[in-house]
């Protein structure tokens, strides 16, 4: 379940779920949205030159992987050198609230980020604070030429002057509601068995079964 819930602090917090759950995107919807976003990224970058995808843990990374696979299928994009994962935990502004967070791994793309067009990938854009941390974290890794933001869901309620360049689905929400993104790589029973720290390979069947975006409350 996405940590971009109302509290935006505790991933384990079940919160007050008032019962109603609406499914906003199915597995096929997510796949179609990512396909469109992949084309938009190529269009805006005028091709795959110097393109780097950085997923933000946890669910931003599987999304970045899927986008990278699509980019590789459409055009000359090499995920083995241009896909990475960037943890932003240490750059958050809420480290002194809620429980301590264990950081996730940062995996730099082999080509680095210097002079690249870096596309940050995350699951839900909400307050914008995660992206603020990501921009800080990115400056420590190098100096990209351009930084863009791709998100699966933009649910509004920004608290900072940040907007996404590529959006899978604009989703007007109330701040009392919670948006949950579930992805097979992280939320399938096989992945859950690997524990909190693991991520599983996901077959198309797994995605069909476990991928979804829902609104609770």
């Amino acid at each position: 379940m996405s940590r971009k819930n109302t509290a935006d602090t505790d991933p384990q917090d079940p919160g007050e779920i008032s019962g109603t759950t609406r499914r906003i995107l199915s597995a096929a919807d997510i796949d179609r949205a990512l396909t469109r976003v992949a084309h938009e990224i190529l269009e805006s970058n005028k091709g795959p030159q110097d393109l780097v995808l950085l997923g933000i843990p946890r669910r931003g990374f599987p999304l970045a992987q899927r986008l990278a696979d699509k980019l590789a299928a459409i055009d000359d994009f090499d995920p083995s050198t241009s896909l990475g994962q960037m943890d932003v935990t240490m750059y958050r502004d809420d480290l002194r609230r809620g429980p301590s967070r264990v950081p996730w791994p940062t995996v730099m793309p082999a080509r680095g980020v210097d002079d690249a067009t870096v596309v940050l990938v995350d699951d839900v854009l909400y307050s914008g604070r995660t992206i603020r941390s990501a921009l800080d974290a990115l400056t420590e890794l190098g100096r990209p030429a351009v930084v863009r933001l791709a998100v699966l869901v933009d649910r509004g309620h920004r608290e900072l002057p940040i907007r996404a360049d590529f959006v899978g689905k604009n989703l007007p929400t109330s701040s009392r509601e919670k948006v949950r993104v579930r992805l097979a790589e992280i939320d399938s029973p096989a992945a859950a068995e690997l524990g909190l720290r693991g991520a599983a390979e996901a077959t198309p069947q797994d995605r069909e079964r476990y991928d979804e975006v829902v609104i609770e409350g």
């Binding site: 240490m90 809620g98 791994p105 940062t106």
Partner: protein, 319 residues
């Protein structure tokens, strides 16, 4: 976690959380900017009543990599040598708004006293107290052991314990806080610990601890341990006749070139660990210290990562 006083109090989940965080902290060393902003504006006081170079430097660089401000305080040349009490020293430091106090003290339990007496409001990290514990040393040893096994198996370290590993700890168990902290932590993480020492350097009541006791080093090494950890012969504590001569100690309890050759001949994967500083030619031969099995330098760099993880976990999160 509010303080880090001993590894005996750590649960398996807490220990693994620290080790996983330390793995991430180690990656910072590979970034172009080797600094994280997580503890900006926080103050860490290093309060060292006993001599130490590497632990203090390790804590200092850990705090600095997390952007904390560091105040070093050593008892020599301070008001402690004029007779100031631990309480007054601590309260003076608190008046400077310390967020964490890293304390090394010659008396067992001093960090516990500092943490629980209500004198101060800061997180307390034990950096070695008397013959009691040295928890960050045990954590960095566990991190090194975890890496050793993961490298051999070609697996990830994240989330794993030390289940099924066997570690032989050799030397002055009687005076060693490193041995005690390691014993508690490694057994919590699922490893088996064997102590090897001359009977004079084995503490009374060792049979009540979760460790095997062997008096012969070759017997212990023949059991194909995953690691052998040599403890420093602490000359400053050798006030009684614990063993006849240094030469005899080196021959019977030291990791000699002959014992190293026997490990190589047996095709063992045993790692050689030492908390430092080493007495070459006494508890560890130069051949062993410089062999590819030696993890001594990795232990030092893991020490910074582990201390970053501890400071980070103690100083973030809501109180």
């Amino acid at each position: 976690m509010r303080h880090l006083l001993s590894t005996r109090d750590l649960t398996r989940d807490q220990a693994i959380e620290i080790l996983d965080t330390a793995d991430r902290m180690a990656e910072v060393g590979q970034q172009s900017v080797k600094k994280l902003p997580a503890l900006r504006g926080r103050t860490v006081v290093n309060l060292f009543f006993e001599d130490s170079t590497r632990t203090r430097i390790s804590f200092e660089s850990a705090a600095k990599r997390l952007s904390a401000d560091v105040i070093n305080f050593s008892a020599k040349g301070s008001s402690v040598s004029k007779g100031e009490s631990l309480k007054d020293t601590a309260q003076t430091l608190m008046a400077m708004d310390a967020d964490a106090v890293v304390i090394r003290h010659g008396t067992s339990g001093a960090p516990q006293r500092l943490a629980t007496a209500g004198w101060i409001d800061a997180a307390v990290l034990n950096a070695g107290d008397g013959k009691h514990e040295h928890p960050t040393q045990a954590l960095l040893d566990a991190m090194t052991l975890r890496q050793h096994r993961a490298a051999l198996a070609g697996e990830e370290t994240t989330g794993t314990g030390l289940d099924g590993m066997h570690v032989v700890i050799v030397g002055d168990i009687l005076h060693s806080r490193v041995a005690r902290s390691n014993m508690w932590l490694l057994t919590t993480l699922g490893a088996r610990v064997t102590f090897v020492a001359p009977p004079t350097l084995m503490p009374v009541g060792v049979e009540h601890w979760p460790a095997d006791v062997v008096f012969d080093l070759d017997t212990a090494l023949a059991r194909d341990p995953d690691a052998v950890m040599l403890l420093r012969v602490q000359r400053e504590r050798m006030h009684a006749a614990f063993f006849p001569s240094e030469a005899e100690y080196a021959r019977l309890w030291g990791l000699t070139p002959e014992r190293l050759a026997a490990l190589d001949a047996a095709g063992a994967t045993t790692a050689i660990m030492h908390p430092g500083p080493m007495n070459r030619g006494l508890e560890i031969s130069s051949a062993a210290a410089d062999s590819p099995r030696s993890t001594v330098l990795r232990q030092v760099s893991n020490g910074v990562a582990v201390r970053m993880a501890c400071l980070y976990l103690l100083l973030t999160g809501a109180r």
